[in-house]
């Protein structure tokens, strides 16, 4: 909840007013954290680069819908969540389509991408393997809290719950991760 000088919000207000160059400093501030967030969710660096790019495309596309009163960080992460959700749905459709032989042929390239995702996931260390075994909602909360520096207030805003509920969820997720991490 900082309200410092040349804030994200001021920059985004300028972008909204078609001064697109002001997106560059916002890109510098956010692309690495967003990429990191998306990589933890997808376990696929290549896909995450594409998704990060998509986030910034959507920022431009929907810039007129940005309200300067709302925190940019919350807005952009909401967008990143949606981008990831869309990606996840596409993947689900893909898996459903696998039953159909013709569809399999049509989506061969995408299945190749899914395979490379598996391979990348195998490279991760124990901690990331444990994280990957968590259900996505729990993993997301931990990623936001531990890797993205989100406070419970911000997580609550993003997930549409109270800060206290976000805190309880985060603690449950941490316990769940502990059990997986120290399972053997």
């Amino acid at each position: 909840m900082t309200s410092t000088s040349t804030s994200d919000e001021e920059l985004m207000a300028a972008v909204r007013a078609d001064d697109l160059d002001q997106l560059v400093p916002l890109f510098e501030r956010y692309h690495a954290p967003l990429f990191n967030y998306l990589t933890r969710l997808t376990n696929d660096r290549e896909t995450s680069e594409d998704l990060t790019q998509t986030v910034f495309e959507r920022i431009l596309k929907y810039r007129s819908s940005y309200q300067p009163s709302q925190p940019f960080k919350a807005w952009v992460y909401q967008m990143a969540r949606n981008v990831h959700a869309d990606h996840w749905q596409r993947q689900q459709k893909l898996r459903a389509a696998d039953a159909d032989v013709e569809d399999v042929e049509r989506t061969g390239a995408l299945r190749g991408a899914a395979f490379s995702q598996m391979r990348v996931a195998n490279h991760h260390d124990d901690l990331h393997e444990a994280l990957n075994l968590l259900p996505t909602p729990q993993r997301e909360i931990l990623v936001l809290n531990r890797f993205q520096g989100f406070g419970y207030e911000e997580i609550g805003q993003l997930l549409g719950c109270t800060a206290e509920a976000a805190r309880v969820k985060a603690h449950r997720a941490l316990q769940a991760l502990r059990k997986i991490y120290f399972a053997n």
Partner: protein, 277 residues
């Protein structure tokens, strides 16, 4: 009946992350601390939670490749170009003169390039068909009767024509000129001052055919000092050697020592001196 200890452990499990995080209210923190002192199982949990928290904190962030930034910049440029057509829309209402880009989008630019290259290729084909490309020996036919512009006209056309047209003019003019013809002076000017080295080379060849004219020998020696293009330099050296222009020796000596000349040019100049003296 549950043992009081187990139910206490179960109850406290939810509090332990907050305890590790030190975000518990003091009263509850004291209660957990009191339980921990007597419960090794919960102590282990706390140890594990601390280790896990440390590992999470130590986890290296995933760093994107630089391609991500490049892609972003490309996308941004594209979006900016899409914006620019909006500005000139208002232009017609303003009486003030204004520079308006005719081809504002990348797409238009690309099409322009494709169109321009087609025009260029077509022009090249036309030129190739219409202009006579007769070489040295071909004194008959089209070239003989069509091209013998007067030196004044030639000088004038030289100023306006494109490089390939200039080459054509130079090649054709030299055919039937006699010694003492003012064309020699035009060709020497071309040799010394034309911006295009290929035109200068064509002028060299034309002048070689007019080698009987004393102006040519003088002019070539003078030009040796001026030329910087290695192809023209070497051609000139060959010419003065072939024409046995002794007076060129001092210029060749200078050229063989010029630090800005290519080694091959310096070697050629030295070899030329050897043949001339």
């Amino acid at each position: 009946m549950k043992t009081p200890e187990l139910s206490a452990c179960h109850e406290l499990e939810a509090l332990l992350p907050a305890y590790v995080e030190r975000s518990l209210p003091a009263a509850e923190a004291d209660r957990v601390a009191a339980h921990l002192a007597a419960c090794p199982a919960c102590q282990l949990q706390v140890t594990q939670l601390r280790a896990l928290t440390d590992d999470l904190d130590a986890a290296m962030p995933e760093v994107p490749r630089t391609a991500l930034r490049a892609n972003f910049m490309a996308m941004l440029e594209q979006q900016k170009q899409l914006l620019t057509p909006d500005a000139p829309v208002a232009a017609p209402t303003q009486p003030v003169a204004k520079v308006v880009s005719m081809w504002p989008t990348a797409l238009a630019n690309n099409w322009m390039r494709v169109a321009a290259s087609i025009v260029l290729i077509a022009a090249g084909v036309l030129l190739g068909r219409n202009l006579s490309w007769n070489g040295r020996g071909a004194d008959n036919g089209v070239a003989a009767n069509s091209n013998k512009p007067a030196p004044v006209e030639l000088a004038q056309s030289m100023r306006q024509a494109s490089a390939s047209d200039r080459i054509q003019l130079v090649t054709n003019t030299s055919k039937q000129t006699e010694p003492g013809d003012p064309t020699v002076q035009v060709l020497l000017n071309t040799l010394n001052f034309d911006a295009n080295p290929n035109v200068r080379l064509a002028a060299c060849e034309a002048l070689y055919r007019l080698r009987e004219d004393p102006q040519v020998r003088e002019g070539l020696v003078h030009s040796l000092a001026i030329q910087t293009d290695p192809n023209v330099q070497i051609t000139l050296i060959d010419m003065v050697v072939a024409m046995r222009v002794r007076r060129a020796v001092p210029q060749l000596e200078k050229l063989s020592k010029r630090p800005d000349a290519l080694p091959v040019v310096r070697a050629q100049a030295e070899a030329g001196i050897g043949k001339l003296i």
